[in-house]
């Protein structure tokens, strides 16, 4: 019995040391789940002869824990902006050799400029996809319960009177404190990027008020739940909600899912490629990133996963309906209202996680 516990302890200590075996002509990629058109991987192998070992995660926390444990054996990883910034500070990534990335010229300046906030001079990372954190909803179920529902506003989530109308049909929130707390702060008219105890406390109070109407905090289940009609509303990531919309359409079950970027503003985030310092195949990693930035390839991925590409050159190959969808490519005016947040330092992170635990569990 005791050795069983010890094993758990040993495993906890050793967590994150697993990874793909180092071999020549291989690139070990660690990306978000459901975040690529897998045909692209075969095309890469055909073109370069480099085999791709592809592994996935579904939360930045898991990725960061692995990276900070070191020795992951990954060549390319895809952290989100705030996490990227902290990981750069921790010395996780190597500087990119831009001479090996000629396709950088196709990247979208507008996005690269915003990412420079997390990665000064864009030295460590190249944007893959970007998106927003907004509201996904089941059109019919919302209409049934409230004909004039303000679907273009955070009132849907943060106004007790309105959100309570939808509690019976199921509401999911992302299990991500660093996205929901800024959303609450933004709704309260405070700085979404604030790290002060007082502001986090205020956001917590607001979230606690609507807590009784939330069925679940989870960061990936809502895709299927929305598509199947199990829930009627979710705070989720743009592309994921749009994937749910697509799945519902394909299933033909009569479920209509929509995504809205609330008019009060929403979080804009960026998932970028970066190469860990101890990557066993940095050459192959550069080749992989360069390939993914190729306009045709970047477009193929966007057409498949419904997230906006960091490549401007890709836009001519992206389907019209995606390029013209303001939920994916917000217009200039909407873009103005999007905000970004900076990383939390260890102390404010603790306050944040603690507040979030309290929101979720009531203790």
């Amino acid at each position: 019995m005791i050795s069983r516990l010890a094993l758990v302890a040993a495993m906890t200590a050793a967590i994150g040391t697993t990874g793909a075996v180092a071999q020549e002509n291989v690139v070990n990629v660690y990306n978000w789940s459901d975040y690529i058109d897998e045909e692209v991987l075969q095309e890469f192998t055909q073109e370069t002869g480099i085999r791709v070992v592809y592994d996935v995660f579904d939360s930045n926390d898991i990725l960061e824990t692995k990276l900070l444990a070191g020795g992951t054996n990954y060549d390319v990883v895809v952290p989100t902006g705030t996490f990227l910034a902290r990981q750069i500070q921790a010395g996780v990534f190597q500087e990119l050799d831009k001479s090996k990335l000629p396709n950088l010229e196709h990247q979208w300046d507008r996005i690269s400029e915003r990412i420079a906030r997390f990665d000064p001079e864009n030295e460590h990372a190249v944007n893959y996809m970007w998106g927003t954190t907004g509201i996904g909803y089941n059109v019919d179920k919302i209409n049934e319960r409230m004909a004039d529902a303000p679907v273009d506003s955070w009132d849907m989530i943060f106004d007790e009177e309105i959100v309570s109308k939808f509690a019976d049909c199921g509401i999911h929130l992302l299990d991500a404190a660093d996205e929901l707390v800024p959303a609450a702060l933004n709704y309260l008219g405070r700085d979404p990027d604030s790290k002060s105890d007082e502001d986090i406390e205020a956001a917590k109070e607001l979230l606690l008020k609507i807590r009784p109407y939330v069925q679940k905090f989870h960061s990936s289940e809502y895709i299927n739940a929305l598509a199947n009609g199990d829930i009627c509303m979710a705070v989720g990531w743009s592309g994921d909600v749009l994937q749910a919309r697509d799945r519902a359409e394909e299933a033909g079950s009569g479920v209509t899912v929509e995504y809205s970027i609330p008019k009060e503003g929403a979080l804009m985030w960026f998932d970028s490629f970066a190469i860990p310092k101890d990557a066993p195949h940095p050459e192959a990693a550069h080749a992989f990133i360069n390939f993914m930035m190729k306009p045709e390839v970047a477009a193929k991925n966007t057409n498949y996963i419904f997230y906006a590409s960091g490549s401007e050159g890709a836009q001519e190959f992206i389907d019209e309906e995606i390029l013209n969808d303001p939920a994916i490519y917000p217009d200039d005016e909407a873009l103005e209202r999007l905000y970004t947040v900076s990383p939390y330092d260890p102390r404010s992170q603790r306050v944040l996680t603690r507040a979030w635990t309290q929101v979720k569990s009531g203790t």
Binding site: M1, I2, S3, R4, L5, A6, L7, V8, A9, A10, T12, A13, I15, S59, D61, I62, E64, T65, L67, L68, A69, G70, R86, Q89, A90, G91, V92, G170, A177, V214, Q215, K216, F217, N228, D230, P346, Q349, R350, T353, R354, W356, T357, K360, S361, G362, T363
Partner: protein, 304 residues
């Protein structure tokens, strides 16, 4: 002479093997975790300091030792979250153990009293679930318990209920998951001790006019006590630290130390504090067991 000494050396090795096992797989990892629990968080690889570096020589090592502190343990008791998590884990594990015992005992009893020819098959049936991954079996419960799941669909179609029950994402689902997953760990030791029981004792009690229910409580239960104790330990201890079941089946309000530890480790990236949580958890489990075994040993000595 030579043969004698090698066999003695062989015996010594066999005797030392369990200790070597404990040293490598229990004591060493424990010491590493304990050391991390005395460190501080920092933004680096690995995310804590000091790391013991032999480059600095003895004085460097001493410097590192001086940086260690029990701060994290003090913090654990300053926020009621941790104490509540421990208590709630103990409660969930305790109730689950009781439920498993109540369900497992009749099963084991039935198996032990069944015709001898059936027993291997019945034993096989108890072990059979292990052939599927634990994770998949817990996932299967999501499909059974969800709002649009098998259970609700069945109950609705038979007209027993009108509206779907909310079981998934509640503590009830956690109890169901734990009871289901740990049942074999209770049945197997119980079966082993019940099967070994001398049935002539029951016949004797019967001949002397003891009614069957009383026979059960006076003879069967005391004789199966070692099985009950072993089964309860096998269920209770891993259930306290359970993470997968509360994470998949439990709701946001399900408070268990495994999840609290996960949040410290992955959300806060606070290895030192999560190590402190783990060390305290280990103490909570190991100390009562040691006291219990000590008491048992004394009891045995007194009896003999």
């Amino acid at each position: 002479m030579n043969g004698f000494s090698t066999s003695r050396a062989g015996r010594l090795i066999v005797r030392l093997l369990p200790y070597a096992w404990l040293l490598v797989f229990f004591l060493l990892p424990f010491l590493i975790v304990f050391k991390i629990s005395l460190s501080q968080v920092t933004l680096a690889i690995p995310p804590y300091m000091p790391t013991f570096d032999l480059v600095g020589g003895i004085s460097g090592l001493m410097d590192s030792v001086r940086q260690l502190s029990f701060e994290n343990y003090a913090f654990l008791f300053s926020d009621r979250l941790y104490v509540l998590s421990y208590l709630s884990s103990l409660q969930i594990a305790g109730i689950s153990t009781l439920l498993v015992l109540m369900i497992g005992y009749p099963i084991a009893y039935g198996m032990a009293r069944s015709p001898r020819a059936w027993r291997p098959t019945l034993l096989m049936l108890v072990i059979l679930p292990f052939w599927t991954s634990f994770l998949i079996r817990v996932y299967a419960w999501i499909g059974i318990l969800s709002r649009e799941g098998l259970l609700n669909n069945f109950l609705m179609s038979t007209g027993i209920i009108d509206a779907p029950l909310t079981i998934l994402s509640t503590n009830i689902a956690v109890y169901i998951g734990i009871v289901y997953s740990y049942l074999p760990f209770m049945v197997l030791p119980l079966y082993a001790s019940l099967e070994r029981m001398d049935e002539s004792l029951l016949e004797a009690a019967n001949d002397l006019g003891c009614p069957p229910p009383k026979t059960f409580w006076v003879i069967t239960v005391p004789l199966s006590l070692p099985g009950i104790v072993a089964g309860c330990f096998l269920v209770f201890i891993p259930a306290v630290g359970e993470f997968v079941i509360p994470d998949l089946l439990g709701g946001s309000q399900t408070l268990m130390i495994g999840r609290t530890l996960w949040a410290e480790f992955f959300n806060n990236r606070d290895w030192p504090l999560s190590s402190a949580v783990a060390v305290i958890l280990l103490l909570i489990l190991v100390i009562p067991i040691m006291i219990f075994q000590n008491m048992q040993q004394r009891q045995q000595e007194k009896n003999s």
